[in-house]
């Protein structure tokens, strides 16, 4: 069994730097030297990725380096510093950092913010507290070990003396910097006072009063507004367009063709229309006439036909343990099923947008709602032929990420347009642009064949995965790790893969891969348990009780979440009555372990998900509110997305707005009860792990309530409506 202890296992050396500003403020920088394999790397080469400042009025400010997209990092990170520094939470303020290489990784993605930040945040807070204690102890002539703190104050119990932090800053700055290895870092929930409590978001006041926070809220002197019309068919180029006519329309200042590049993640071909207001730019667009040159004609019916044919072929074997064919031949019982899930869109509430301004010297400044601004800067530099050193990126709050904004097509588009126009430009995609030019979660087909022995144990698992590829490799978000369970949990295991060529742009979508294929596995486990005459929970716990070779899962942690969710839901302990079902599922991804039990009530083909009982182990909880928010959000997202699909015709998406891709409404949302197992592993992220098991918990409950096994999504394809 592999126990992942992120902070401790990442083998990075942390360093501290303490300095004093002219204002008298104490600044603590904490940074790391990434392992280079070069033993000669000196601490002097460290880069700071975190700054904490204590001002002479006792206030504490902390730079939040990662973009905030609703995952709560802007609140959670400063909480860790405040906990270790021992200050009142109300004295802490947060500044959003711009893109700056000194901060290291500045990405919203992979649920990595928490595991990456945990050590540095604690080191910065703890070191500062230790320096302040040492400063007071020196002043009082007592051993530092006899001193302690209460929020914002160093105390010496024996003499009854105390000193506020702000009075100790100058003395603290003169002391030697503590060795990181000597710091006693808090790590257990029993040591925390602020961590683990319910703390509202630091931007709440601004959100509730409508202050400018988001990318589309940026307003600059002389700024113009742009729309960018791209070919509905992916990869299409501009033949000709009536741009002269467009230029003469009211409010329009510029209209021009952008040839674009061959990079499907970069600058696409299209027509830019720039005007004094967005409404005028978009109104002019309705008069735009373009002859597009298209090459591709991908369609959903054609994908379906190809998948059907491929399912009958053998595919490429990615992994084979034991002898699946022999085990299936000798099995007491065989269970077979094929599952299908569709393409889906990220559908961020804030459509893609970005603001750019060139100065007279050719330097470029961005206000970018990007999950991965560094990669955006690099894309812009290479496409426009300018140096990365001449590009500055301000990070705005992001109106929903979910993986869409890991791509930076909107950054390169606005940069190109702003250079052409010679004035600051805000590019605002329409909702239709956003839905037609997403990097979709790819669809997939999974054919499973399981063999059971006489005891109803799964002894063989044959899996054929039909996914999408280009040039023989799965496209982004379409791959499946051969190491993933049930590999390692079944003695005879085989994974085969076949690819359908596509030009549909694809990419990571919240918990990429996991949020799709977990549904297939966990639904099929229910089918297997049923065929074996076993309880769905007992079958899973038994499956997790043995391993065959290396598994990527901590079987104990995941089993504990299963038991807890089941206990809270009263699994096996209550009469459900007619038309009511419970469904259970587990998963682990991005270092997090989550199980859900869903409770569904049915009226014919119409179902209501009444309640979901969730149990998660991501180590100690930092912000109880933020953690619950991610669990609740993931459950709602899972149910919402199980009703949705993006389909294609003539190489273009058929859905274009919320009327044909309608997100869940409030009346359809379940009650959600979250439980956390605060194990002693280092804390890890929650933006992704709760979503994958939520979908199968719901569809398994639908089976319980209706007798309909959901093997195709969206639910309507299986004749079920929410």
């Amino acid at each position: 069994m592999t126990r992942l202890k992120p902070g401790a296992s990442m083998n990075r050396r942390s360093f501290l730097k303490v300095s004093m500003l002219a204002s008298g403020a104490l600044v603590i920088g904490c940074g790391r030297v990434e392992p280079t394999g070069d033993a000669s790397v000196e601490p002097e080469t460290w880069v700071a990725n975190l700054y904490v400042r204590i001002d002479t009025d006792g206030s504490v400010s902390i730079v939040s380096k990662n973009p905030e997209a609703g995952q709560g990092v802007k609140t959670a990170f400063p909480m860790v510093v405040a906990e270790c520094l021992d200050v009142d939470w109300t004295s802490v303020s947060v500044e959003q950092a711009p893109l700056d290489d000194r901060y290291g990784r500045q990405v919203v993605g992979g649920s990595r913010g928490t595991p990456d930040g945990w050590d540095d945040l604690r080191i910065a807070g703890t070191a500062a507290r230790q320096l302040l204690i040492a400063a007071a102890a020196g002043d009082w002539g007592v051993p530092a070990g006899e001193c302690s703190t209460k929020p914002g104050v160093v105390t010496h119990e024996a003499s009854g003396r105390s000193a506020r932090y702000e009075g100790l800053l100058e003395a603290a700055a003169r002391l030697p910097v503590p060795d990181v290895d000597d710091l006693d870092l808090k790590s257990r929930p029993s040591e925390f006072s602020l961590l683990g409590t319910f703390v509202p978001g630091v931007d709440n006041r601004q959100i509730h009063t409508g202050q400018p926070l988001f990318g589309c809220d940026v307003r600059l002197d002389g700024m113009l507004y742009a729309v960018f019309e791209k070919c509905p068919t992916f990869g299409g180029r501009v033949g000709d367009a009536n741009v002269e006519q467009i230029r003469s329309l009211p409010g329009v200042t510029h209209a021009f063709v952008v040839e674009g590049t061959d990079d499907p993640r970069g600058l696409q071909a299209g027509i830019a229309i720039v005007a004094n207001t967005w409404w005028e730019a978009n109104s002019a667009r309705r008069k735009l006439r373009v002859n597009w040159v298209t090459e591709h004609a991908d369609s959903t019916p054609d994908f379906d036909r190809q998948a059907k044919a491929l399912l009958e072929q053998s595919g490429d074997t990615l992994r084979s343990d034991g002898d699946v064919d022999d085990a299936l031949a000798r099995a007491a019982k065989i269970v077979e099923a094929t599952y299908y899930y569709p393409f889906v869109s990220h559908a961020n509430m804030e459509p893609q947008n970005c603001t750019a301004r060139f100065d007279d010297a050719g330097r470029l400044e961005f206000w970018a709602p990007s999950q991965n601004p560094k990669s955006g800067r690099s894309l812009v530099a290479s496409t426009l032929g300018i140096s990365e050193d001449d590009i500055h990126v301000n990070l705005t709050r992001i109106g929903g990420g979910f993986g869409r904004r890991l791509r930076n097509d909107f950054m390169v588009e606005v940069a190109w347009i702003a250079r052409e126009v010679g004035r600051p430009v805000q590019l605002q995609w329409s909702r239709e642009d956003d839905m037609r030019h997403d990097f979709y979660r790819p669809a997939g087909w999974h054919r499973f064949k399981a063999g059971l022995d006489d005891d109803g144990r799964m002894v063989a698992f044959d899996h054929h995965f039909i996914t999408f590829g280009r040039d023989g490799e799965p496209v982004s978000g379409a791959d499946l790790s051969p190491g993933h369970y049930p590999a390692g949990l079944v003695p005879n295991f085989r994974l085969r893969q076949s690819l359908i060529e596509t030009h549909v742009p694809t990419g990571p979508w919240r918990s990429p891969g996991h949020s799709a294929y977990c549904w297939c596995y966990q639904s099929f486990f229910d089918e297997v348990a049923l065929a074996a005459g076993r309880d769905a929970l007992e079958f899973r716990l038994d499956l997790l009780s043995r391993s065959y070779g290396e598994t990527q899962v901590d079987r104990q942690r995941v089993s504990d979440t299963l038991r807890l969710a089941a206990e809270k839901a009263g699994w096996g302990k209550r009469e459900l009555g007619e038309n009511r079902g419970l469904g259970i599922a587990f998963h682990y991804d991005h270092l997090g372990y989550v199980s859900h039990v869903a409770e569904v009530v049915a009226d014919g083909s119409s179902v209501k998900v009444e309640k979901v009982f969730s149990a998660a182990d991501v180590g100690p909880i930092i912000n109880l509110s933020g953690a619950r928010n991610q669990v609740e959000g993931c459950v709602v997202d899972a149910l919402s997305t199980a009703r949705l699909e993006v389909t294609f015709a003539n190489g273009a998406a058929r859905q274009s707005n919320f009327d044909d891709y309608e997100l869940l409404r409030i009346g359809q949302a379940p009650e959600i009860e979250c439980h956390f197992i605060q194990s002693e592993h280092s804390p890890t992220g929650l933006g992704e792990p709760p979503i994958a098991p939520a979908t199968p918990a719901i569809t398994n409950a639908i089976f319980g309530a209706t007798g309909t096994r959901i093997r195709q999504l969206p639910l309507a394809r299986s004749g079920i409506f929410v």
């Binding site: 997209a69 609703g70 995952q71 703390v199 509202p200 978001g201 931007d203 709440n204 006041r205 959100i207 509730h208 009063t209 409508g210 202050q211 400018p212 926070l213 589309c216 307003r219 507004y225 009211p250 409010g251 004094n276 207001t277 967005w278 409404w279 005028e280 109104s283 559908a347 961020n348 509430m349 804030e350 459509p351 709050r397 992001i398 109106g399 929903g400 990420g401 979910f402 329409s430 909702r431 509110s625 928010n629 609740e632 959000g633 993931c634 709602v636 997202d637 919402s640 707005n657 919320f658 009327d659 997100l663 869940l664 409404r665 409030i666 009346g667 949302a669 379940p670 009650e671 959600i672």
Partner: protein
């Protein structure tokens, strides 16, 4: 283009705008009142909700030029200090995740409470059905509206 005078958050604004420009874009691009958000542009998602004479309306669907004489309230005008009962409840339940749809949610909730000071779950689901949230804050919206009702009735929360 027409000359438009609107009453927004108790103030009078006069500006030139195309006669078909929706209130949403007049607010955002003419008046720099960017708290009102664009998301669908077709009256489906409710992100652009403002109050018109106290009732929640979709500003993406209403030409600004036709709104003279109406009392328009945007999120900036509900209570700029954030002390309205709904704003306080939204903070105390920590409703927002990304926050993008929340102006529409808060204004719609404040209109609900104005006409129904003690709404039940069905009242809430019905009144809030028009405002989508991609992050899934719906369970907290229900709790926050009930909390706001308590603030407004018993604790002097409404300002």
């Amino acid at each position: 283009m027409s000359n438009v005078t609107l009453r927004i958050n108790g103030q009078s604004y006069t500006f030139n705008a195309p006669s078909d420009m929706p209130l949403l874009w007049a607010l955002r691009d003419k008046l720099d009142l960017v708290g009102t958000k664009y998301s669908c542009g077709v009256g489906v998602c409710g992100s652009c909700t403002v109050l018109v004479n106290g009732a929640p309306m979709r500003s993406c669907m209403m030409p600004a030029a036709g709104m003279a004489g109406m009392e328009i309230t945007t999120i900036e005008g509900l209570d700029p200090t954030g002390e309205h009962a709904v704003q306080r409840a939204w903070n105390d339940e920590d409703v927002a995740q990304c926050g993008y749809c929340q102006a529409g949610q808060i204004l719609t909730a404040s209109a609900l409470l104005s006409r129904n000071p003690d709404p039940g779950d069905e009242d809430i689901d019905s009144a809030m059905a028009g405002v989508m949230c991609r992050c899934g804050t719906y369970p907290r919206i229900r709790k926050a509206i009930k909390r706001a009702a308590r603030y407004a009735s018993g604790e002097g929360g409404a300002s």
